[in-house]
Symmetry: C2
Subunit: 160 residues, 2 copies
Amino acid sequence: MRDPLLRFAGYITENGLKNTPQRRRIAEIFFRSGKHLSTEELYDMVRGPEYGIGQATVYRTLKLLCRAGLAREHHFGDLTARYEALDETAHHDHLICTGCGKNVEIVDEEIERQQELVAARNEFLLTSHRMVLYGLCRECAKKKKTDPDALSSPADYKLR
Amino acid sequence: MRDPLLRFAGYITENGLKNTPQRRRIAEIFFRSGKHLSTEELYDMVRGPEYGIGQATVYRTLKLLCRAGLAREHHFGDLTARYEALDETAHHDHLICTGCGKNVEIVDEEIERQQELVAARNEFLLTSHRMVLYGLCRECAKKKKTDPDALSSPADYKLR
DNA sequence: CTTGTTGCAAAGGATTTGCACGGCT
DNA sequence: AGCCGTGCAAATCCTTTGCAACAAG
């Protein structure tokens, strides 16, 4: 059962919850569209002329998806949370350009292996992790050479 | 010049800012005390009977410390920001127990090296990174075997 | 003196919650 | 019928900002 929508439906019934049209619509749009949406972005996508879905429901459903293990909450540089669909067959980390915000998904077997090792060394049973690399993409690095002030500094980017 | 307080003073003068008693006190307490304080915790430590320091000043000073490269903002599981002193001679990542909240600082040369590689492979100039491993420490893993409900699930922990 | 800094309180932004209503089961 | 879920608006929580008084350089 690979389809996240089905998995969501499964989670719902298994836990005595209810499969409402709002939840279906939110999940559907969430899984279909790109990654790393903020609640507000998703809210905007979800509410059509014929749908009157409330913000609160979006928040609640996103949390529910997290609880179901189908989504994950991120805090990158800004203060608003962003959610990404979680497909256990395709875990990944992030590489973010602090100049233009470009967000590349990465995976590195070697790092994953090493993480397990570090955890074991500390007598921890590793359940998950989160890794974000910050840097400048080629274009922004070049731009920076031309006009150093054109880009906000990495330090500033991480400020909030 | 290893002392962060001196470095802070240096940053202040170099940038035409002012070395006020509030800033001195906040920085002093921040660097002396443990890691990963929230603004509120620091605020409580900073305001003594004889000091009337405002919240806003604590927020502002913490930001300033980040800008000076002497502190770093973190968002672990909760929604409030936590700050940690940054000593460039001792970068580290985190290993957190989702059972009891234990927070172990870790460094792994191999991982650091590999991160550079991954960035380079994507034509990124790496400036910094952040990595948090989540798991269960030995005690909590044991506890979980005895009474699985005694601990909040990792998923819940990460919810917010 | 000039300009940055502070404290307070008000403003802001994101997320949660109380509550009455509506809809599954 | 009973209970969960929804929408709305009010409430919270954390953080930022405007402003007048103040203090460092």
